[in-house]
Structures are given as structure tokens and as C-alpha cells.
């Protein structure tokens, strides 16, 4: 059974499953750093995406360019967890390591709010 991790953005809590079979190193490093308290910033070019700074590095695994709603990736050069709350047709590849499977609607609401209001607090925990 896939491991679940909680993603709290503002007042919304979502569940994401880790793709440990496809991105084992990235998932392992994330788990080692939990709980993480951070903050989001909204993407300025990619569209419906927000980024959360995470305190680890992990080389590319399971590269994804076209993003579906709920995809969660790691962009190693900026040490950010990228949360795609709507589809994004294509940006530079990043490591797809998790998917939001519960309360994507809440994350979408917080994502749209972040574009207008800026960085909400974020927590990632088991």
C-alpha cells in the first residue's frame, strides 16, 4: 500500500501518496525530513502551480514534464516541492514523486488564493 503524507496549506489539509516505486530516493529524503514547516510561493510563469521550499537535495528520478492536477514534484536546483493544482502542459522536467489523492479541491482553493494574496504557511507531515 502506498505511503500517505499530509499536506497542510493554509487551513486546508490534503493527503498525498508517495510514489516510492518510481522515485525512491526523493521519497526517502522527504520522509527523513518530516515534519517540514515551510511556506508557499506561487509560480509566476508556469501557471497553476505553487512551490514549497524543502530542506533536502535529490537527483532527478521519474522525470515529468506534462503535469496533471495533483502532481507533486521536486525541482532539485531550487529545492522546491512543486504542487500542480491544475494541469500544466509542459515546463522543464522535474521529479514526480507524489500525487494528491484527498482534498485536491482545498489545495486548488489555496493555490488560487496564493496567486492573489501570497505565501501561506505549509506543513508536510505523516
Amino acid at each position: 500500500m502506498a505511503k500517505e503524507v499530509k499536506l497542510k496549506v493554509g487551513n486546508e489539509v490534503a493527503t498525498m501518496i508517495l510514489l516510492e516505486d518510481k522515485a525512491p530516493n526523493t521519497c526517502k529524503k522527504l520522509l527523513e525530513c518530516l515534519p517540514i514547516k515551510s511556506q508557499l510561493i506561487h509560480a509566476k510563469f508556469a501557471g497553476p502551480e505553487f512551490m514549497v521550499k524543502v530542506p533536502f537535495f535529490s537527483d532527478m528520478e521519474n522525470p515529468a514534464t506534462r503535469q496533471d492536477p495533483g502532481n507533486v514534484c521536486l525541482n532539485d536546483p531550487s529545492q522546491t516541492m512543486c504542487v500542480f493544482y491544475e494541469a500544466v502542459p509542459g515546463m522543464g522536467p522535474c521529479t514526480l514523486f507524489a500525487k494528491i489523492v484527498g482534498n485536491l479541491e482545498g489545495i486548488q482553493k489555496e493555490g488560487r488564493k496564493a496567486w492573489k494574496e501570497g505565501g501561506a504557511p505549509v506543513e508536510i507531515y505523516e
Binding site: K37, Q39, P77, S78
Partner: protein, 152 residues
């Protein structure tokens, strides 16, 4: 974990979860031409972003075999020494003190692995600093103003 990595990490952990005082100083107190705040705030956001990217390329270089560690350390030292007064100009005074503190210590690092560990902590510090600054910018209002001006 070596002393310098531990020291750099403890600086980084301290500023990770709680907004440092220097963020508001950089965004709201650093006056430029005719008392304007915009460009000094924008430079703080942009320069910390570029510094993170540059440090990341140092980390990538450090992962190569046959590396001349002494030369890389000297380049990195010169690089940080350039940025230290610039951070002060941006009113990022806590970061200026942090960089001063670690830039002299880093020359004593004796192995590539230790230097990679140190560089990673430094990248995480500057990257988080950039995110604090970015999150404090009124981007939406700036985008509306810019787009409505240039689309006329």
C-alpha cells in the same frame, strides 16, 4: 557532522521556520530613487535567487571527480566576499553577518564531502531567504499595474 556544517545548519534552521527581522527591513525600509522602495525590494528577491542558482552550480561542480578543492574554495570565498557587502546594501544585515562568519571558516574545510555538505547548507539558507522575500512581495498588484500599463 563537521563543526562548520553544524554551524551553517544551525543558522539555517533558525531562519527556516520564523521570518527573520531583516525581511521586512529589505522589503519596506530600503529607500532608493526619490524614496522609492520597489527596486531595492526587487533586487533583494532577484539577487538571492541568483545566488542560490550560482551556489547550486558550485555544488554540481564539487560532485565531479579530480576536482581541485583548494581552487574551488578560493573561488567560492571570492564569490561570497563579493556578496557580503551587497547583502548589507540590501538591508539583509543578518545574512551579511552570517556570510561574514562562515566565509572565513570555510577555508579550513579539508575534504570534498565536507565542502559539499557545507555548500548544501548554504544553498538551503539562501534559498529560504529568497522564499521569505518572494512571499512578502505584492506580486499580484504589481502584475496588474504592469500589465495594464504596457498593454495600453
Amino acid at each position: 557532522m563537521s563543526d562548520i556544517i553544524q554551524k551553517t545548519r544551525s543558522y539555517r534552521e533558525k531562519m527556516w521556520a520564523s521570518e527573520p527581522n531583516e525581511i521586512q527591513a529589505a522589503l519596506t525600509e530600503n529607500k532608493g530613487t526619490e524614496g522609492s522602495l520597489f527596486f531595492s525590494a526587487l533586487y533583494a528577491v532577484d539577487d538571492t535567487k541568483h545566488l542560490t542558482h550560482s551556489l547550486y552550480t558550485f555544488r554540481k561542480a564539487l560532485q565531479q571527480d579530480n576536482l581541485d578543492l583548494k581552487t574551488v574554495k578560493q573561488i567560492m570565498k571570492s564569490f561570497l566576499d563579493y556578496y557580503i557587502p551587497w547583502m548589507g546594501w540590501l538591508k539583509l544585515n543578518e545574512t551579511e553577518r552570517f556570510l561574514k562568519d562562515i566565509s572565513s571558516d570555510m577555508m579550513a574545510i579539508g575534504s570534498r564531502d565536507e565542502f559539499i555538505g557545507f555548500t548544501e547548507e548554504l544553498i538551503l539558507y539562501i534559498g529560504r531567504l529568497n522564499q521569505w522575500l518572494d512571499a512578502g512581495m505584492p506580486w499580484y498588484e504589481l502584475v496588474q499595474t504592469y500589465d495594464s500599463t504596457v498593454k495600453k
